[in-house]
Structure formats: structure tokens, C-alpha cells
């Protein structure tokens, strides 16, 4: 019981802090890669607290609903992850958040929001099947969808599921809003769609979405951590390497179109997944 409570607290409170810190580090590393110094590590928290304190302003009151729904779904997904629940269930709950984000953006009539929302949907379309297949692959290897059982598996999954890890990398890039897949909105100042799906969220609601994004970051890194669950050092090294690779990709690629994204991610992703799944099924 106490374990459960600790897990809930970690998932609920510590995870977003870690997520915020990661995004601060992300910005510093990005700046260094560009020959700049970059903001302080805590910048993400400054931003969110500032946004919280701003005037509450909406286009449509349902945006408030959607922002809260997004952050709650993201938080619940992370809490369930720390409770070592069912992977597929966690993915679905995470998807609830993603859908509410889109619905909130669609509730504004601004073309920037609308187009951004549709691009976000296309991104979901691109990454969700890949994550489902990754989870299926993990199940085929370990015989369980439960994280508790997967963490108990006696060897790192990455040796058996390397291609699935790469496929997860695609999903990660999309989900972290990194180039070349930062179509719907990006972390950089502005883009051709202004701020895409986030255009008409402002002030406190934007802050909530940012917090929701921190939860998402933690959740996705959690997914990655399943691939090296036998030791803390290995796991951290894998996560650090993966995240650094994401930043590097972000900095060396340009934003592409959704057509390219869908075609490329599905073609590459499904090929990788299929090869690895067949390998596991036959092996």
C-alpha cells in the first residue's frame, strides 16, 4: 500500500519536475549546439510560473476544459506507469490527452489552430500504431503487458528488439515535437503556423499544456527505459543517449511536410516493426 502511495506521489509530483528539468537541459544543449549560451536550467519552470500568473484569456471556454483534460490524462498515464500498470492502457490514456489537445485547438476558428490541430492528428496517426506494435513486440518477448513483469525480465530487451527501439525513436521524435516532425507546433519561437495547435491557448492554459508535455516526456522516456530494465546505470545511459540523439536530430534536420512524415514514418516504422516482430515470433 505504501509503495502504491509513493508511486502515485512520484508519478504525480516528481515526474513533471523531472520533465521540466529535461526540457531546460534540452534548451541549453540545443543552444550550445548552435553556438549560443542558452537559458538557465530552470527556464522551463520560470516560463510556466509566469504563464500561470498571466491574465486568463480564451477564445472559447471549452479550451479550458480541454487544457485540464489534457494535463489530467497525461498525469494519470504517468502515475499508472509508476504503478507498473498495463502498457497498452497507459498508451490509450495518453492518447486521451492528445485528443483533447486537438479538440481544444479545433474549438477555435483560427486557421492556424485548425491546421495545427489536423497536423497534430496526423502526427498521432503516424506514431500511435508504432507504439502499439512496440508494445506488442514487448509482449511477445516477455509474455506480459504489465510493466511490473517487463521490469523483471532478466535481460535487456534492446538486444531482442533493436528495430522496435528504433521505431519507438520515430514515435519519440514526433511526440517530443522535434524536427523533422515538429509540424503541428514546435518548441522554437514560431513557425509557419505561428504556434500551430497551441496558437489560441494562452496564459494559464498554455502553462497547463506545457506541464502536460512534461508528463508526456517522462512517459515516453519511461517507455524507452523498458528496453534496458536490468540495471539503473544501463537504463540511464540508454535514456541519455536516446535523448541526446533526439536533440541532435532536431538540430540537423529541417521541418518536413505531413505527407512526407506519414509516408516515411509508416514505411520505415512498419518495416522495422514487422522485421522485429517476425524475428521474435520465429525466435
Amino acid at each position: 500500500m505504501s509503495n502504491t502511495i509513493i508511486a502515485i506521489i512520484i508519478g504525480f509530483l516528481v515526474a513533471p519536475l523531472v520533465g521540466g528539468l529535461i526540457s531546460g537541459l534540452d534548451r541549453i544543449i540545443t543552444a550550445r549546439l548552435q553556438g549560443r549560451i542558452g537559458p538557465p536550467v530552470w527556464q522551463a519552470f520560470y516560463d510556466v510560473i509566469k504563464l500561470m500568473s498571466k491574465e486568463s484569456m480564451v477564445v472559447n471556454v471549452w479550451q479550458a476544459f480541454c487544457a485540464y483534460a489534457y494535463v489530467s490524462a497525461a498525469a494519470i498515464a504517468v502515475v499508472l506507469f509508476f504503478l507498473k500498470s498495463d502498457l497498452l492502457l497507459i498508451l490509450f490514456i495518453q492518447a486521451v490527452g492528445a485528443v483533447f489537445l486537438v479538440v481544444g485547438a479545433l474549438s477555435s476558428t483560427s486557421p492556424y489552430s485548425q491546421v495545427g490541430a489536423h497536423r497534430e492528428l496526423l502526427q498521432i496517426l503516424a506514431y500511435e500504431p508504432l507504439i502499439i506494435l512496440v508494445i506488442a513486440g514487448i509482449y511477445l518477448e516477455t509474455g506480459s503487458f504489465k510493466i511490473s513483469a517487463i521490469y523483471d525480465w532478466n535481460q535487456p530487451l534492446i538486444f531482442k528488439l533493436p528495430f522496435l527501439f528504433v521505431a519507438l525513436g520515430y514515435a519519440l521524435t514526433i511526440k517530443l515535437r522535434k524536427s523533422p516532425f515538429d509540424l503541428s507546433t514546435s518548441h522554437h519561437g514560431h513557425q509557419e503556423l505561428v504556434k500551430g495547435v497551441l496558437t489560441d491557448y494562452s496564459g494559464p492554459y498554455l502553462a497547463l499544456i506545457e506541464i502536460g508535455h512534461w508528463y508526456d516526456v517522462v512517459l515516453l522516456l519511461g517507455f524507452c527505459s523498458l528496453f534496458w530494465a536490468t540495471g539503473a546505470v544501463g537504463m540511464l545511459a540508454l535514456l541519455a543517449l536516446t535523448y541526446f540523439a533526439e536533440i541532435l536530430i532536431d538540430n540537423v534536420t529541417a521541418r518536413m511536410t505531413w505527407r512526407w512524415m506519414l509516408g516515411y514514418v509508416w514505411a520505415m516504422g512498419f518495416t522495422l516493426c514487422s522485421v522485429n516482430l517476425i524475428w521474435v515470433i520465429l525466435g
Partner: protein
């Protein structure tokens, strides 16, 4: 408790000013200087400043160039769409008074003819250092606004 919260908010506001840059009719000289602030040489992100494209996310409205009859409505629209607290910086001789264009038939004049301006950054064009300096001054304005709100 409330005081502490106020302090935290005040300090985060100083550390995370997001800027909306609006080219109101500039000759592009000032714009280039504004963008220069983003480059590695000046790197305003050090101060947490981000150049956002959307008034709804912005704290500081940075206006370059003169206001004319065509775009004054745009300027007020953008200003209205910013959530409070917000400050406005007018950049360059044009932004201040209309500059060399002030006698043109279509020109209204400086930015402060249309919306309240908090900081004036002179120059033709204004230097990046001056712009950054102006932005830092604008940050002080946030504290002033907060005190005013507390006093009410």
C-alpha cells in the same frame, strides 16, 4: 505566503519575457537589428527571452517602424490580444515619432499615437545592444505594474 508567491511571480516574469515583434512599416533596418539579438552574438535567450509569433503568448510587444493608416488597426488588434500584464517597446526613430517617413501622406506617426508605449529605443537603426537594454528596462516596468496592482 501571498507575498512570497508574489515575489516568485515577479521574478519569473523578469526571467521569462516573451517577445512579439511587429514590423509596423519599418524600412527593415530595425527588423534586422531585432533579429540580430537572437543570433549567437547577442543570444537573448540567455535572459529567457523568446521571439514568439503570437500576441496571445507574448509579454512584450516590440514595434519597429512607423504607424500608418492601413496598419494602425492591426497594431491595436495585436495589442488587445495580449494577455495582461504587457508592455510595449517602440524601436527606432520611426517607431518613436515616424522618423524620416513622418511627413508622408499615409503616416500616422509614432507607435504611441495608437497604443501606450512603455519604453522608447532610439536609433536609426537601433543597435542590438540598445534593444536589449530597452527590453531590460521593460522588465522593470513589470515590477511597476505589479506594485500598481497591489496598491489598488
Amino acid at each position: 505566503m501571498k507575498k512570497m508567491l508574489g515575489k516568485i511571480i515577479a521574478s519569473t516574469r523578469m526571467k521569462s519575457p516573451w517577445i512579439l515583434h511587429f514590423d509596423c512599416g519599418s524600412c527593415n533596418g530595425c527588423d534586422i537589428e531585432v533579429l540580430a539579438c537572437l543570433t549567437p552574438v547577442y543570444d537573448i535567450e540567455r535572459f529567457g527571452m523568446v521571439n514568439v509569433g503570437n500576441p496571445m503568448h507574448a509579454d512584450i510587444l516590440l514595434v519597429t517602424g512607423t504607424v500608418n493608416h492601413r496598419n494602425k488597426k492591426v497594431l491595436t488588434n495585436l495589442y488587445d490580444q495580449m494577455p495582461a500584464p504587457k508592455v510595449v517597446i517602440a524601436i527606432g526613430a520611426c517607431g518613436l515619432s515616424g522618423g524620416i517617413f513622418r511627413d508622408a501622406y499615409n503616416v500616422v506617426g509614432g507607435v504611441d499615437r495608437v497604443i501606450p508605449v512603455d519604453v522608447y529605443v532610439p536609433g536609426c537603426p537601433a543597435k542590438p545592444e540598445a534593444i536589449i537594454d530597452g527590453a531590460v528596462l521593460a522588465l522593470k516596468k513589470f515590477e511597476v505594474l505589479r506594485q500598481q496592482k497591489l496598491a489598488v
